[in-house]
Subunit: 472 residues, 2 copies
């Protein structure tokens, strides 16, 4: 029996749908109506609908409401279990090493790498930029660049940010070694030893150690498959834990693929400012939207520099270049100083190449193509997973970004599955990587960065087979 009210409510609706009492295309009552009819809170009604969406029984149509949707395959409802505590949080480090540590042969199919395949990147155009820089500027590339990063690139990034609704002076930007360094700088700058930092749960593994290696304490906050961090839980956690900062991937998060609705972003910024909690926003996936419009960032609602904004070109242009940036809000001096003792400066050569590439308007064109490709890939991966994974599989439906988050029946242990998969020259990121606190043994993350082809198809089918045999 389902433990939570929203689970019981969701099961009721599944019953109605499966018995044909609610038909495909039929509109569901509004949340307010559902709350009244069922005597539950609005929140419970919302969570039930969210589960139904995650399971594929219901779809939302903008400005209209929720509609019944017949799932392509019958996937039975496994209730969202109260997740138990992890026994050995340290094992995340070892897991990371297991998944990402060794060099793979070209035969290997990796669904673990959260990055665009080289085929999706503008290699030829970037080569032209390299030639240009080599011809005109490589002397300067030899020397330490400014600690803050070169002006040319900062100006291009300021333009990029203006296009997404953030007005920023290029003098307030600092170039970093990818987004990961930006996050590290932000943590160092706006928190002190022993401070708590709120993070989404699940979240990507780079965050845990970035926080704890500096003697700060990560505190995990509940999330929703679709809308990311749960507002009420976030606000409660602020009251309860008095954190110094809150670190959120606001758009197309990793591993959930969730995006915080723009109106909630505004609420978060307002709330955090009021509570004097610094918001560290990681918007590394923001440009990779599948829809018509870029989602906003929290930073775009920031009026007084209480949001530190981090992003990079690693998911969209040149992962190997290790170029990211940070808009430091009120913390410019602290971040500048932290940069010196973290890595002194960022590679001048790579900055010059990207500045040239952006200046020539090539990034916009590239992004337009990339978004379409990723959307197509995401859908095709989803289809295969729905077709081949066992009953009880729940799949995220991200509206951008790189990853699919897969919930499997509780009997599946994705770590064991990983070992089997690796024997077959195949890997993925097991759920246990994504939380220090929660036992995510029956989850896994699939990256869709590799263009969908026969090899990918076979890989997903093979995973499905392994899943079927391990659930028997």
């Amino acid at each position: 029996m389902a433990r939570f009210k929203h689970e019981r409510l969701a099961e009721q609706f599944i019953g109605l749908i499966e018995r044909g009492e609610l038909k495909a295309g039929q509109k569901l009552p509004s949340l307010r109506m559902m709350s009244k009819q069922q005597g539950v809170s609005l929140m419970t009604a919302y969570q039930a609908i969210n589960s139904l969406q995650g399971l594929g029984y219901v779809e939302s149509r903008p400005k209209s409401g929720y509609y019944v949707r017949r799932p392509k395959q019958k996937i039975s409802f496994r209730r969202q279990q109260k997740l138990s505590q992890k026994k050995n949080p340290k094992s995340i480090d070892e897991l990371v090493q297991l998944v990402y540590g060794t060099n793979r042969s070209t035969e290997y199919i990796s669904f673990a790498l959260n990055t665009p395949d080289v085929e999706l990147l503008p290699a030829t155009k970037l080569k032209q930029s390299i030639l240009h820089v080599n011809r005109n500027r490589s002397h300067s590339a030899l020397q330490y660049g400014p600690i803050q990063g070169i002006r040319d690139l900062r100006e291009q990034i300021a333009v990029l940010m203006a296009n997404s609704g953030i007005e920023v002076d290029s003098d307030e930007l600092l170039i970093t070694v990818g987004c990961q360094e930006a996050i590290n700088l932000a943590i160092t700058a706006c928190t002190a030893l022993g401070d708590k930092i709120l993070i989404e749960s699940p979240t990507y593994f780079g965050v845990f150690q970035a926080i704890s290696s500096k003697g700060r304490i990560p505190v995990e906050v509940e999330t929703d498959f679709e809308t990311g961090v749960v507002m009420e839980s976030l606000f409660e956690a602020v009251e309860k834990h008095k954190p110094a900062a809150c670190l959120l991937v606001t758009n197309f998060s990793n591993p959930l693929g969730a995006s915080i609705p723009d109106s909630d972003k505004e609420r978060i910024v307002r709330f955090m400012r009021q509570k004097k909690v610094t918001l560290i926003e990681n918007d590394i996936y923001g440009e990779l939207y599948f829809g018509a419009k870029r989602p906003r960032s929290c930073k775009s609602f920031d009026r007084d520099g209480s949001v530190i904004y981090c992003s990079s070109f690693s998911k969209s242009l040149a992962p190997g270049y290790r170029i990211g940036w940070i808009e430091s809000g009120q913390f410019f001096d602290q971040i500048f100083q932290a940069k010196i003792h973290q890595s002194v400066a960022t590679s001048t050569l790579n900055q010059e190449i990207l500045a040239h590439f952006l200046k020539n308007g090539r990034y916009d064109l590239h992004l337009k193509r990339l978004r379409k490709q990723l959307h197509t890939q995401s859908l095709r991966y989803q289809e295969q997973i729905l077709a081949h994974f066992p009953e009880g599989t729940v799949l995220s439906r991200p509206k951008g970004g790189f990853v699919l988050w897969v919930q499997l029946p509780p009997s599946i242990n994705t770590l064991k599955l990983l070992h089997l998969a690796m024997q077959q020259q195949l890997n993925f990121a097991p759920g246990q990587l994504f939380s220090l606190e929660k036992d995510l043994h029956n989850y896994l993350r699939i990256s869709i960065g590799k263009p969908y082809d026969e090899k990918v198809e076979k890989g997903l089918q093979l995973l499905g087979k392994l899943l079927h045999s391990s659930s028997e």
Copy 2:
């Protein structure tokens, strides 16, 4: 009156020399004899001789002893004062920003940048390597490289290290974003929150925050102008503070330019192993020796992986590329994991360029030339400083590396001097940057990375003038 025994002893000798009772070229008694005659400890005798050397009254001749040397100019003895405690250690960060924060016009003369001038770097040959990589491999450069760094470069570095007496498997190396990241990884990997880490005093400013931002505690240990960290003080500090690690620049340190004698390196390695203290060795300047032979590293005496070795190409080949490396001793897994949450991976492009450059034997040739150039520059800078700085100036005489360490009369405040100098389009690194504990208000560091020319000459003369007027 001098406060310390060794200062009183040094003053006695200065009296003898200045009254002509000890003549230039005359041999001094041995340390053992001096200790007997004067009723002081060997250590005191040694410290006195060290002061006399620093002041230019005495020189040491290998395997022979100490001899009187008439200084070129009369520099009076300012006793090494008991350094007082600093009032605001945080000001180091602000100082760093003052010195390194702003972009300088080309008119600016910076004696603060501890790095080779672009004229000393093999720009043309590196351009060829860029072209080669761009032609043959830039596809791979777009992608995240292996977390550990690319094999080609690791192999070249293993060869380089073998040439300097360290046998290492390229699989045990990890490529980093310069030496600074390597130091950060080492600290994260081999120490825990609250642990103490011994460092030389004075030392370069990047170290303090690298340690304290992670909740570790830096403990400063006495040094000698010529031989670096004082062995007895180091050993005492280990007993007293029970540190988890000890971080030393073993060759041509920054800012002292001191090198630990090879026999002492072996003693340090043995002692630290016995006391279970991890030695983090920063050997970034090791290749930049002015003499006939590369000094050894502590790592070359390491038998069981208790030394973590850090270095980079930033002082010798391409500062702006931000490529360093780490040999992690027993800590490979921890360092690998720390790398992931620090910066994920190092720029693939830059690694490929340097691998190609090294493979073609170009680094050796370049180093041979660079060493000669730096040696010449160092001597010419020294001459000018001795000619133009006020009486009471004591100058380091490094046998390699990039920097001169200048002790000025106690009445001089080099921070005030810096403000005056900056108004004249000139800067340097004031002493206060190099210690958290000690008041180094009358010290400064001059980098010799810029080829000696009229501009440099005028800059040093101008500094001399400012010094004279501020000491009046």
